[in-house]
Assembly symmetry: C2
Homo-oligomer: 252 residues x 2
């Protein structure tokens, strides 16, 4: 059993603690949590600490904290020559303290409180500066995921940007759809099958092939009628995305 | 058995022909198709016509053609006093020829060629100018869908706009994510679990509750690092949606 310490108590940390605890092949010997309450249902109280001086010595530390705190936390680990991996999509290995072997362990998923996820289906992108220690990081990832792949820091950053478009921005478009529905007394649930089908479609078609709607048809009558229904912010987004769909359609 | 004629041979028409033929309670006695080839696998050749003079007399005609052709097609139906329903999200009843009872039959879904859909899960919004004939339209919709609801022309237009945001624009964001992945040699498949989870999430959380990412966290370090990776068009979309997420977050 590989013994690890997880540093963090937010959504990602909580999901990782749960997944590793259920894995059977990884032992979470300790969790560093400034907010012990947040992880108290996931691990025994005597395995939680908020004092770096009390950190147990293990071969691998997993840092799942806010991006801006990763570098500082990596410097506070009171050991050397271990593997220290962060879980962020947007941080380079070089931002970690070099006293330990620097690594990344990036689960490509959106984590919300109170929403369970199936970790076996979550791709995990790994990177480690010392190739001779890659197996340990790989074993860690394979303990919870069936989709482990290698990527460098630049690719991880690009993937994180792509994820912001395909997830964070997508969710905001759902939110704008919700606002429009509310304003016209239409239950937002009416859009759910459409939303699910739109997501499912791109498992069999490329997004370029799957594009439908007035923009790709060049249906300016409908586009202009739509713009009349929108407020300034909705209208700006509608026009920019419509133009982008038209421009990308021309390149195909 | 209610006998109907379907006018059209595009994606929506094809999916409707298939769904009604399998319904057991609706008889598609004829399909009007300028392109007979497109529907030849769905209905017998002797039931296909491209001549309005040959149109059979039935109680109900369903027009599933391009938006701009709907009005003209409704005028060419050589009968009066029937129900004529279009399937468009963006057309008012008033655009149909008044010689027949005007109606709308709007399946809230995205239809692509070669991609089967489960019609029972597709909401269908119905509207008819003569309330005494509502039952016929309702029976038609219930023959293929478990989610039939009434809405007026203004609500249908608003729902169509909301669907453009939640489906067409969403798909374009997938496409932009795909472009970014391609440019950095990352397989787009890596994003699929994230995309599916993002869509699934809003069946249990509201989109406002489900929002994650650098914009809602106010993480400008990550936002600025992302902008450096983007081309002008991607950057304009990134900035506009990021600002919109921040502004909506403030209202909560």
């Amino acid at each position: 059993m590989l013994a690890i310490v997880i540093i963090g108590s937010g959504n990602v940390a909580q999901h990782l603690i749960r997944a590793f605890s259920q894995s059977g092949s990884i032992e979470v010997v300790q969790v560093f949590a400034r907010n012990a309450e947040a992880v108290s249902r996931l691990i025994d109280a005597d395995k939680i600490t908020s004092d770096f001086a009390q950190l147990k010595e293990v071969p691998l530390y997993l840092i799942a904290v806010a991006d801006k705190a990763v570098a500082e936390v990596s410097a506070k680990i009171p050991f050397e020559g271990k593997i220290v991996a962060h879980t962020s999509g947007s941080i380079s290995l070089s931002e970690l303290d070099p006293k330990n072997t620097r690594a990344a362990f990036y689960p490509v998923q959106t984590f919300s409180k109170d929403k369970a996820v199936d970790f076996r289906q979550i791709p995990i992108g790994i990177e480690i500066e010392d190739p001779t220690q890659k197996t340990i990081l790989e074993d860690l990832a394979r303990a919870i995921s069936g989709k482990v792949f290698e990527m460098d820091s630049k690719q991880r950053k690009a993937l994180h940007v792509a994820a912001v478009f395909s997830c964070n921005f997508v969710n905001h478009l759902y939110a704008l759809g919700n606002v429009i529905c509310d304003r016209h007394n239409i239950p937002f649930e009416v859009l759910q099958p459409l939303i699910l089908e739109t997501a499912n479609k791109i498992t069999t078609l490329s997004p370029a092939q799957a594009q439908t709607g007035p923009a790709i048809r060049g249906d300016f009558g409908t586009i202009n009628a739509h713009l009349e229904l929108l407020d300034d912010n909705q209208s700006a987004i509608y026009q920019l995305l419509t133009q982008s769909i038209i421009d990308h359609g021309k390149k195909l």
